[in-house]
């Protein structure tokens, strides 16, 4: 169970982006989060994925409160989340080939030996050819790069997936392909999903439950 309890977060303590937001995702559940631009849904996704420390509130993971974020969080906890970001261009280190990009989490966690096999398996899953894997981010399209970013998010077999506007930059067929990859992975592993977006039609079809940002909180007064 992933539970966010009355979380207040932002980039300036005096003016948080949002206050007292609560949201929970059950194991194996797919929750869609809908909201207008700039409401703080990406920040909430970063808090949930242990990438941004909230100013107040609690995050409970399977009943245990999380006390540390980013590098301070234990590695096993951090890698329990697979995160896919909105803009693949910014989410990929420009110097790494797509194969290195996908293998990077395995190398960072000392599982270099598994890299070759795992990359080949995931590349086939997300539809990346061997030729594309040897290219660098500037040599592939947004859609191809986002496929690699999704493969990277899945490479450590996370228990939770956080997709922050994963398909906002993509065309319909790529969107369908990536959503299918996520759903196949979830069907195989029983991972929970938090999908953030502003496309109600997509989230309604993709997720078990769609929640509106407005129903979660009392927005911060300015």
């Amino acid at each position: 169970m992933l539970e966010l309890l009355t979380v207040t977060a932002g980039y300036d303590r005096r003016a948080p982006v949002f206050r007292d937001v609560s949201l929970s995702v059950a194991p194996g559940e797919a929750v869609g989060l809908l909201g207008p631009s700039g409401c703080g849904k990406s920040t909430l996704a970063r808090v949930a994925a242990l990438l941004h420390r909230p100013d107040a509130g609690a995050l409970h993971l399977d009943g245990t409160p999380v006390r540390h974020w980013r590098h301070r969080a234990p590695r096993a906890l951090r890698t329990a989340f697979g995160v896919v970001f909105q803009q693949p261009r910014l989410a990929a280190d420009p110097r790494l080939t797509l194969a290195d990009l996908v293998a990077e989490p395995l190398r960072a966690t000392g599982r270099r030996d598994e890299a070759a096999g795992r990359v080949a398996e995931l590349a086939a899953g997300v539809g990346l050819t061997a030729d594309l894997l040897t290219r660098r981010p500037h040599e592939v399209s947004d859609g191809q790069l986002q496929r690699a970013c999704l493969a990277r998010a899945l490479v450590l077999r996370p228990r939770w997936l956080v997709c922050d506007e994963m398909t906002a930059m993509l065309d319909a067929s790529t969107t369908a392909a990536l959503v299918r990859v996520v759903e196949d992975y979830r069907a195989g592993t029983g991972a929970g999903l938090l999908a953030v977006g502003h496309d109600r039609v997509l989230l309604d079809r993709w997720c078990d439950r769609t929640v509106d940002w407005a129903s979660l909180n009392s927005p911060a007064e300015h």
Binding site: R46, L51, V83, L90, A91, P105, R152
Partner: protein, 297 residues
């Protein structure tokens, strides 16, 4: 219609011509800088081993000769050949400059990357120390450092390096901070990368071009500092030919109307400085064309 076409053609031509001029000016600057620097470095590397002449050879009968064919740069007040002295002096100054710039860049990059990568209290603490050290005039602190050791090349290198890593630390920290906020760093953190791995694999490679540029621009700066310290009699021992020492020794003769013992060592400081600045400017334009207008050198 015809008039419009003519106007387009005209502005197009004018624009192309202007662009062409600019490009050729830039190429000229690049080529001149490269040529000057090559000649300087070759002279410094090749002349001492190839030319079997003693730069310390004293010839009191030929003291303070104006430039002529036998001594193209003239002679100093004890009759030593100034061309040879300048080449040897530049050799020492360049060694000090390169060694000090490299050391300063390594120290500055390490400190700046640490401050940027850790952030929070570490960042604030380290940068306040950097601010405090920057507030002391470099030359004053450099004098303090050389004064602690016996005169020699390495105390001068240490003195220049330890006062010049501050600006590199600032540049590297700023670059690291801007890179750190990018989602690919979030992705690395989420992928289980340690702080060390994030810094070394994802942040540092991104700041290396800036750090390398800072290092190159620091070489002439370090040479000036070496010359300033030597001129004040605090740098290299007086028997070592360095550009600062040469100018310092020649001060007296300048008042007597002998211009060559100060002019040529001075030119040996100025020419490599301009050449390095020209090359660094071209490089900076190449790695970041948008900052072309900010180019100060």
């Amino acid at each position: 219609m015809v008039m419009a076409d003519a106007a387009v053609e005209k502005t197009g031509t004018a624009w192309r011509a202007a662009g062409g001029d600019r490009r050729s000016t830039r190429t000229l600057r690049l080529r001149t800088s490269a040529a000057l620097l090559t000649v300087t470095v070759l002279a410094v590397l090749l002349v001492p081993p190839l030319v079997q002449l003693d730069q310390q050879a004293v010839d009191l009968a030929a003291k303070l000769r104006a430039p002529d064919w036998a001594h193209p740069f003239g002679t100093d007040d004890v009759g030593r050949d100034l061309l040879l002295r300048c080449v040897y002096g530049l050799r020492v100054s360049l060694l000090v400059g390169v060694a000090a710039a490299l050391t300063a860049t390594v120290v500055g990059t390490a400190v700046g990357a640490a401050a940027g990568a850790f952030g929070g209290w570490v960042d604030r603490g380290v940068m306040r120390v950097v601010d405090a050290l920057s507030s002391v005039p470099h030359l004053l602190m450099g004098i303090f450092i050389v004064a602690m050791f016996r005169p020699g090349v390495w105390p001068v290198v240490a003195s220049v390096a330890l006062t010049h890593w501050l600006s590199t630390a600032r540049i590297v920290r700023a670059e690291v901070l801007s890179l750190r906020a990018r989602p690919h760093i979030d992705a690395a953190v989420s992928g289980g990368a340690s702080r060390w791995r994030v810094t070394v694999r994802h942040l540092l490679p991104g700041v290396l071009p800036q750090a390398a540029l800072a290092a190159v621009l620091m070489v002439p700066h370090a040479m000036w500092h070496e010359s300033a310290l030597s001129f004040l009699g605090l740098g290299l021992p007086t028997h070592t030919a360095s550009l600062g020492n040469l100018i310092q020794e020649a001060r007296g003769s300048l008042l007597a109307g002998q211009w060559w013992p100060t002019l040529f060592p001075g030119l040996f400081i100025i020419v490599p400085t301009l050449a390095v600045a020209g090359l660094a400017g071209a490089w900076r334009e190449r790695i970041n064309p948008r900052r072309r207008s900010e180019l100060m050198l």
